[in-house]
Amino acid sequence: MTNNNLFSVDQLTIKFGGLTAVDRVSFRVEPGSIFSIIGPNGAGKTTIFNCINGLYKPDAGSIIFKGEDIVGQKPHRIARKGIARTFQNIELFSRMTTMENLMLGRHIHMKTNVWTGATFFRRGSKAAQDEIKHRERVEKIIDLLDLQSARNQFVGGLPYGTQKLIELGRALALEPELLLLDEPSAGMNSEEKQDLVFWIKDIQDELGLTILLIEHDMKMVMDISDLILVINFGKPITEGKPEEVQRHPEVLKAYLGEDEVIDQSA
C-alpha cells in the first residue's frame, strides 16, 4: 500500500436484493488530480459515492482514505476526515439562505454548542466570535463563486444552476481534501457549464483538492479529467486517460453515443 495515495477503492461491491449495483470496482486517485467516473444511467456511479461517504454500507471491499479504511463509518465522521460531496438531485437546505447553507458547511470547524450559542449577547462572546470568523471564510467562497446576489435569499426559490453552485460552495466550505461531485453540470446551460469548468479547475489549482467527478457531459469530462473510469451494470469496463478511454471499443459501444464523440473533436 503506497502512502502517497490519498484515496483508493478496492473491490467495492454492494447489492440491493438481487441487483449488484456495484460489482468489484477498484481504482485509486492521485492527490490533486481530477478523476471521473462515467457510465450509462443506472450504472452504479452514484451508489459508489454513497458508499464512499457512508450513506450505504458496501457488502464487500475497502475504501482507503489517508491510509485508513473508512468503510462502515458514519457519514458525519467521514465528513470530518475531509470528504465532501454534492448531490445529483440537489440536497440543499431549502428553507435556509445561501449564506446559512454555506455556514452549515463550516459546521465541523465551528465550536459553538447549545450553551454558548444560547447565551451570546456581546460581540466578544465565544459564539459571536465563532460566527464572525467563519463568516469570513464563507464570504470568500461566495465571492469565488459569484454568489453575492443570492447571499441572503432562501435557496429553495433560486434557479437550478445557482442551486448547483451553492451545493458546490457548501461542499467547499467544509474544506475537504477530497471532493465528490455528482453530475455538477446537469441542468446548466452551456455558458454556465463553461464557468463551472473554469471554477473546478480554479478550485483545484488554488486549494489543491482531489476531485472525484461523475458527469454525463462528455466534453466537460474529456476536458478536465486526469483519469477516467468507465463502468456499466456496476462493473468496471476500462480506466485510463481521456484519449485512451474514448478510443476503447467497448466504451464506444456501451456508452459514448455517436454524436458525443464527434462533439469532442470540435
Partner: protein, 290 residues
C-alpha cells in the same frame, strides 16, 4: 394463576388486535397512522349506546345503526379532510388525524358528558366457565370468538372479493392500481369505512367491561399502536398477532412484576421494538434510497 393471566390476556389482546387491524388497514393505504381511530370507535360506541338506552331499540338495530354510523364517519373524515391536504406530508397527515381526535373527543364529551355509563351487552361479563384453573367470562369468550370470526371474514374479503382485491392492489402500488382502472379514491373511502367499523366493534366489546365515557379509547389507542408496531405496521396478520402478544405480555407483567406499571408495558414494547427491530416482528426491512 399463569393460565388465568394468559386467558384474560388473550381476551384483551383480541381487542388490541382489532384496533391494530383497523389502524394497519388505513396505514397501508393512506400511509398515515390514524390517531383518530380510538375516538372514531368511541363515538360509534356512544351512538350504539344512545340507540340502545336512550331510544330503546333492540341490540340488533342499535349495533347495526352504530356500524352504519361508523362507516359514514370514516368516509366523511377521509373525504372532507384528509383528501384536502395540500401538501400531504407525514406531519400534516398526522396532524389532521389528531385534529379529528380532538373534534370527536370534544363532541362526545359535549353530548354525553364525562360521567361513566354502563353499556348493556347481550352477553354477560359475570357468568363464567372454568377451564382448568382459569376462569373465563362469557363476554371474554364472545370477544375472542367475534374477533376470530372478523379476522376470518377479513381474510376472505381480501382474498376473494373484488373490492378486497382492489384494496390490496391499491395498498401495494396506488399508481399501478389507478392505471389498471381501479378507482383508488373510492377504495380510500371504503378503506376508511371498513377500518372505522372494525374499530367500532372493538369499542363495543370494550365498553361493557370498562364503562363508557369519552376517555374509553385513549389508552386502547396506544395499545393498538403498540400491537401494530409489534407486527410491523404493514401486515394484517402481524397486527393481529401483535395484539395477542401485547395482551398476554401486559397481563403477565401485571400479574408477576407490577400492577402499578402495567400500563407502561405498551410504551416499553413500542420503544424496544423500534430500537431493536424497527420493521416489527413479522415484516420485512427495506432500505431507503438516496
Amino acid at each position: 394463576m399463569f393460565l388465568q393471566l394468559v386467558v384474560s390476556g388473550l381476551s384483551f389482546g383480541s381487542l388490541y388486535a382489532l384496533i391494530a387491524l383497523a389502524m394497519v388497514i388505513i396505514y397501508k393505504t393512506s400511509e398515515v397512522p390514524n390517531f383518530g381511530q380510538g375516538e372514531m370507535a368511541m363515538i360509534s360506541t356512544f351512538v350504539a349506546f344512545t340507540l340502545l338506552v336512550t331510544h330503546g331499540y333492540s341490540f340488533a338495530v342499535s349495533f347495526i345503526g352504530a356500524f352504519i354510523f361508523a362507516a359514514a364517519l370514516g368516509v366523511f373524515l377521509e373525504f372532507v379532510f384528509l383528501r384536502r391536504a395540500k401538501d400531504p406530508n407525514i406531519l400534516s397527515l398526522i396532524l389532521i388525524t389528531l385534529g379529528f381526535q380532538m373534534v370527536l373527543y370534544g363532541l362526545a364529551s359535549w353530548k354525553w358528558g364525562a360521567d361513566q355509563k354502563d353499556f348493556p351487552f347481550p352477553v354477560s361479563d359475570f357468568d363464567v366457565i372454568n377451564i382448568g384453573s382459569a376462569v373465563i367470562s362469557y363476554l371474554n369468550i364472545a370477544t375472542l370468538l367475534i374477533t376470530l370470526f372478523l379476522m376470518f371474514m377479513l381474510f376472505l374479503f381480501f382474498r376473494y372479493t373484488k373490492v378486497g382485491i382492489a384494496m390490496k392492489a391499491t395498498q401495494q402500488n396506488a399508481m399501478a392500481a389507478r392505471i389498471n382502472g381501479i378507482r383508488t379514491n373510492r377504495i380510500m373511502s371504503i378503506t376508511w369505512a371498513l377500518s372505522s367499523m372494525i374499530g367500532a366493534v372493538a369499542g363495543m366489546l370494550l365498553a361493557p367491561i370498562a364503562t363508557l365515557d369519552p376517555n374509553l379509547m385513549l389508552e386502547p389507542l396506544l395499545k393498538g399502536f403498540a400491537a401494530a408496531v409489534l407486527g410491523g405496521m404493514t401486515t394484517l396478520v402481524g397486527a393481529a398477532l401483535g395484539g395477542y402478544i401485547l395482551g398476554v405480555i401486559e397481563n403477565l407483567f401485571g400479574g408477576y412484576i407490577s400492577l402499578e406499571f402495567k400500563s407502561i408495558v405498551a410504551f416499553l414494547i413500542i420503544v424496544l421494538v423500534l430500537c431493536f427491530k424497527p420493521s416489527g416482528l413479522f415484516a420485512k426491512h427495506y432500505v431507503r434510497k438516496v
